[in-house]
């Protein structure tokens, strides 16, 4: 099952990239997909029962515009700090605690954090994330967690847990 899921995803990306149904392209696609699965297939975290659940897919689709909105806010924020003559930054590395448990959810959380306002994930240890923040406010783990990951956790829990 895992093998079939991986094959569909890889071959689908191949079809999108070549955008052609010529037999030569299709055969090359099959060979290369199998080669990739043979080499790194073990690393791929695919659970068919979870990935195909319509409720999870629905929340995944809802998550994309939500994330894009915050990415645009992040850009305006960083752009403002960059062009302001006084360079209003107050950087530092803070620690937050997440309640997410699966690796996939943590990966998405770390990437979402990096793409959104003034925050950059430096390391993950268990359920603790170390985050470089361009404008630190608040003074304990609870404040920081609320400000940085509070907006992503509920929706990521619905998708991945």
């Amino acid at each position: 099952m895992k093998f079939i899921g991986e094959f569909i995803i890889l071959f689908g990306v191949w079809l999108l990239l070549t955008w052609s149904l010529a037999p030569a392209q299709l055969i090359a696609g099959v060979v290369i997909s199998l080669l990739v699965i043979g080499l790194v297939g073990d690393m791929f975290l695919f659970k068919a029962g979870r990935a195909l659940n319509p409720i999870r897919i629905f929340w995944m689709i809802m998550y994309i515009p939500y994330l894009i909105w915050y990415i645009i806010l992040a850009n305006l924020d960083v752009a403002y700090r960059v062009i302001h003559p006084d360079l209003p930054i107050r950087p530092g590395i803070v620690k937050v605690k997440t309640s997410l448990t699966t690796d996939m959810a943590k990966t998405f959380l770390a990437n979402s954090i990096t793409l959104t306002p003034g925050t950059l994930t430096v390391d993950i240890k268990g359920d603790e994330l170390y985050i470089h923040w361009i404008y630190v406010h608040g003074n304990n783990v609870k404040d920081w967690s609320k400000a940085i990951i509070g907006r992503f956790e509920p929706i990521l829990r619905r998708i991945f847990e």
Binding site: V13, L16, L17, T18, W19, S20, I71, I72, A74, N75, V78, A79, R81, V82, I83, L87, I89, R90, P91, G92, I93, V94, K95, A110, N111, T114, L115, G118, L120, T121, V122, D123, Y130, H132, I134, V136
Partner: protein, 112 residues
């Protein structure tokens, strides 16, 4: 015609964000702050450029490739920034002297 205009508008916005990101790279003080500019402004700027290309070319070989590339940039860029930041910190690159806190150094002294 409409899609051409929309596409070029989005490309211009993307180039502006890329420019701001580059100004950030020059003006911000240390590795970590510079990565902030590189991961946010430059990622979104590049994604906008590719999305504008998709709007101009539509569903064809070029447009679809641009979309796949935009998705790849959005996934890989934060991962790369994460690796760079962690590597710099472990390699001993100090935070800028105006930084207010460094939990990572406080809690991991002598661990490695």
């Amino acid at each position: 015609m409409f899609w051409d205009t929309a596409g070029y508008t989005i490309i211009v916005i993307g180039v502006l964000f890329d420019l701001l990101g580059c100004i950030g790279l020059v003006r911000l003080p240390d590795v970590y702050n510079r990565l902030q500019a590189a991961t946010k402004c430059v990622t979104l700027g590049t994604a906008f450029l590719l999305f504008g290309l998709f709007l101009i070319n539509g569903f064809g070989a070029l447009g679809i490739k641009a979309l796949v590339c935009a998705a790849a940039v959005l996934i890989t860029s934060p991962t790369g920034a994460h690796a760079l930041a962690r590597g710099s910190h472990r390699g001993g690159v100090k935070l800028w002297e105006g930084s207010v806190i460094d939990k990572y150094a406080e809690e991991n002294e002598g661990v490695d």
